[in-house]
């Protein structure tokens, strides 16, 4: 079955990833992450000075600012800020930088669906780029249940989202991820642990858990991609030091 965007042939196919780190000169870390025609840029500043009011004695304060593609931030962006912050806060080893602030700015560059998932992936790459100590990395994927065919489509475009009966975004960390050397048995036994999940629309319990399973498998590719991106960046840095 061909998808509406015509570049993909299967329902469980993700759009091509693209990422690039260290784009901004003035930020401590920055990254861009693309899912096809959806693109999000993220910058990280910190650990830096923090407003006295927000200062925490035992850990760093994490501030997330979400900027929309056009116009001023609305309540949708505020809700996204909360989602990002509450998911990232426990991931960052903020106890290592008490009484400081880490500011994360997320800017949508191109919107073709699955923006929240793209934003999560861009943010984790930017945090890695800034050298902020993390407990684990995360990966995010969105899927929809199509209203007509009842099929689960991964990484939907704006056009596909318009035909969705329900929309599901999942974030998984890499603590329990499937590695290439784990056996088939291991892969079956791994329990799917959700870090963040957000679903709207109308759906059944079975649909929800099936979406979680499918997204969990898809996220492994995102985890792998992030790992390769970091590896390449470090190799490049090593070369620069030695040359």
């Amino acid at each position: 079955m061909s998808r509406l965007d015509r570049t993909r042939t299967s329902a469980h196919q993700l759009r091509p990833f693209f990422s690039s780190q260290n784009l901004l000169n003035r930020a401590d870390g920055s990254a861009q992450f693309d899912f096809g025609e959806s693109s999000v840029m993220c910058s990280v500043v910190g650990p830096a000075e923090v407003k006295l009011r927000d200062e925490k004695l035992d850990r760093a304060t994490i501030e997330v600012v979400v900027r929309p593609l056009v116009g001023l931030p609305g309540i949708k962006d505020k809700a996204r800020e909360q989602a990002l912050r509450e998911t990232l806060e426990p991931l960052v080893l903020s106890g290592l930088h008490p009484r400081t602030g880490i500011q994360i700015v997320v800017q949508t560059m191109k919107d073709d669906g699955s923006i929240l998932a793209t934003a999560f992936n861009a943010t984790i790459l930017a945090l890695l780029d800034a050298g902020i100590p993390l407990k684990s990395i995360l990966g995010a994927v969105t899927c929809i249940v199509d209203a007509e065919t009842n099929q689960i489509l991964l990484d939907p475009t704006t056009q596909e989202l318009a035909n969705a009966k329900s929309t599901h975004t999942f974030v998984f960390d890499n603590k329990s991820s499937i590695t290439s050397d784990s056996t088939q048995e291991d892969k079956e036994a791994v329990e799917v642990s959700t870090l963040y999940s957000d679903s709207t629309g109308l759906f059944s319990e079975e649909e929800y858990f099936e979406c979680a399973q499918i997204c969990y498998k898809a996220v492994q590719a995102v985890h792998g991609f992030i790992r390769t991106a970091v590896q390449k960046k470090l190799e490049k840095e090593q070369q620069q030091i030695h040359s």
């Binding site: 309540i75 509450e86 709207t200 629309g201 858990f209």
Partner: protein
Amino acid sequence: MATPAFSFTPSTFQKLHPAEFFRRFTTEGVRPDGRLLDAFRPTTVHHGVISTANGSAMVRIGGTTVVCGVKAEVAEPKLDAPDQGYLVPNVELSPMCSSKFRPGPPSEQAQAVSEAINRVLKESKVLDLKDLCIEEGKAVWVLYVDAVCVAYDGNIFDAALAAIMAALKNVRIRKPTYQEGTIKVSGGSTATDENSFRLNLARAPLSATFAIFDTTLTILADPNVTEETISDGQISITLDETGQLCGVTKIGAASCSQSVMKDCVQSAKKRTLQLRGIMNQQ
């Protein structure tokens, strides 16, 4: 037995180590307020509490009180949807309800709850917006759904959603007649079944929220404000009357296995059924 080097009163212990204090209770399967881990707080629903609004309700879940009023106003429709009205939900968390909130523009939490409720109402197609049309391209009803928190003791999402659904069920709008650019309502000053209409709600989504405490993934139903502050995450599950899911949100540190999520869905089914019973009583 030797006496310990120093000792606290329970209330000092609670203030110094709130999480450890709480853990002493949860390991025994209870909570400091006497509830079992899976117990929801006593809930009451009152309909039509504001006589000047088109529809209203007040919901109490333990110490959390939310009053919701629905006001219908006439407005011009949007150009891309000339036959559809609007539904504008808003949740207000003012300093009146808790010292947690500061005066000024709405807090992030208030905006996030408003957005979550807006999405539930829109995505699960609670109301056909075409029902709010008076004259295509000329005039439509706009429903301002304002939920004001009067007392805040955690679990604002469940309370606000229940109050909003109860208020929407309670709505009565006068039948309008459109004539050459003017809208008239006829039939005396009091609303009766002949001169007014009620909203045709396709479904009534209600939610159940759970807090995740500790790495042991202890699930606490209907967290109060102290439980919210020490918890590591929250799960909210929204269901309609047929048991169909209208929304699932899981946020926070603890990563949750599928079995935990399944237990929460089961518990949410029971809870929303009970809440529906309370709502339909009066």
